[in-house]
């Protein structure tokens, strides 16, 4: 166990090194660049036993790791924003092909216009690819979630994306702890896929299908994505037993006691939200923070269980669903809680787009506005 004072990108790179990854392909893009650089450096220094392919685009990065996963390697890539968008077709391919892989996505706004700062449009645009999405908010959580992601992806054979906010987390220095090799070996067994591409196999993977043949693949993927939620929570609990650290299962919750107002968000905003909750509580408003960690599969029962009768859910989306009220979390929450539409009140706003600064006072202020709205 080592204590490190480093950036979010460093935490990510160290986790990849410690996870005994075999193959990495990555293309640099702000604010992810340091991840690729550090991994290349660890390999060159001989402290990480893996191969690194400096591909010429993100589409190629994803194509390379998809093929590498197929031949049985433990694989990783990292990207952000435009890069994530560029590899979109391969994301569908990897999920449909049930190829285990972990990708770190450093959340960044998308063009046009150009903006380098954090929002979640890049990640939420990949909602329907079949990937599992996890959102983190601290360097320790990044390190821990990358290891968790490898365990989950190899067990369920669904690709996992670990998100963290660009610059806010990726470039912020925080203290965190890394795990020893023997602890990691305890947690992460060797990669043993249900199928691998090798000469003696003699078949074809990913051939054309008829409509009737195609449907079972989709049905099994959606069923397995849903079941993966339990696996994530179980693996997080195992990690807690191993290290004592717990960042939450589906949610990282804050001051749930006697709460009437629940402030839902993802990423670093969710941590800042704790300060906003404190401000509101000081004014006598019974607020709680819900930082969603698992965006996909979106938790239905788990969210409902957290909300008592008559609760008011205030959603803070760092993304937009164009032409609709706000963002994806608002839509997903409303859909998930439809059966409770008569007792709950749900409203939401989109904030923090393009990395717009979100101090606690601003979040508390927006919360008060939303409270006024739902109390009408």
């Amino acid at each position: 166990m080592s204590k490190v004072f480093g950036s979010g990108n460093t935490a990510c790179a160290l986790a990849v090194k410690d996870a005994d990854v075999d193959f990495v392909a990555a293309y640099p893009i702000t604010p992810q660049t340091a991840v690729a650089e550090k991994i290349a450096a660890y390999i060159a220094e001989g402290i990480m036993d893996a191969n690194y392919l400096p591909v010429e685009s993100e589409h190629s990065a994803a194509s390379a790791i998809a093929a590498a996963s197929a031949v049985g390697a433990r694989v990783f890539t990292a990207t952000a924003s435009q890069g994530l968008l560029y590899m979109h077709e391969i994301l569908h391919y990897a999920a449909g092909g049930r190829l285990p892989m972990v990708m770190a996505n450093v959340n960044r706004a998308v063009n046009a216009p150009w903006c380098l700062y954090a929002d979640h449009q890049d990640a939420v645009s990949q909602r329907d690819t079949g990937w599992i999405h996890i959102h983190t908010a601290s360097n320790q959580e990044i390190y821990d979630s990358i290891l968790l992601a490898f365990k989950v992806t190899e067990e369920v054979q669904i690709p996992v994306m670990v998100n963290y906010d660009g610059f806010l987390v990726s470039h912020s220095m925080m203290p965190f702890e890394t795990l020893d090799e023997n602890k990691i070996k305890e947690y992460l067994p060797p990669f043993n896929p249900s199928w691998r591409l090798h000469p003696q196999w003699g078949g074809t993977f990913g051939n054309v299908t008829y409509s009737e043949q195609y449907v079972p693949y989709r049905e099994s993927l959606t069923r397995d994505v849903k079941k993966a939620g339990e696996v994530i929570v179980r693996c997080a609990k195992e990690y807690q037993e191993l290290t004592g650290r717990w960042h939450g299962g589906y949610f990282d919750v804050y001051r749930l006691e006697d709460a009437s107002f629940f402030l839902l968000s993802m990423g670093s905003m969710g941590k800042e939200m704790e300060l906003a909750v404190d401000l509101l509580r000081k004014e006598g408003i019974p607020a709680a923070g819900l930082r969603l960690r698992v965006f996909c599969p979106f938790p239905k029962e788990e969210l409902s269980v957290l909300l008592p009768d008559g609760a008011k859910l205030l959603v803070f989306d760092r993304n937009l669903v164009y032409g609709s009220a706000a963002g994806v979390l608002l839509q997903e929450s409303r859909a998930a809680l439809y059966e409770r539409r008569d007792d709950l009140r749900i409203t939401g706003i989109s904030v923090g787009l393009g990395g717009e600064d979100l101090p606690a006072v601003l979040l508390a202020d927006r919360a008060r506005q939303m409270i006024q709205e739902v109390e009408k």
Binding site: G96, G97, R98, W195, G202, G203, T204, F205, N207
Partner: protein, 85 residues
Amino acid sequence: MDKKIVQPISRPTKGACGRTGTWRSQRPVFEAPLCNGCLICWLYCPEAAISREDRSIDYEYCKGCGICAEECAKNAIRMVKEEVK
């Protein structure tokens, strides 16, 4: 948890695209006495339907393209109109 992972897997199958011999409008006829065993027909058959051992033709799959007849230097294969059934 049900561990069965459904992946898009196919196995090599003779006749994967059906009995392609039914595509033919002409069929190759091999005359062994004229053959010098050069194996050009075997090498060039796009369907691997000509036997290396005796140049017999697998009519279940032969599409009647005529490359074998065209390339045979000894005219040991000729194309005849396929019978209409």
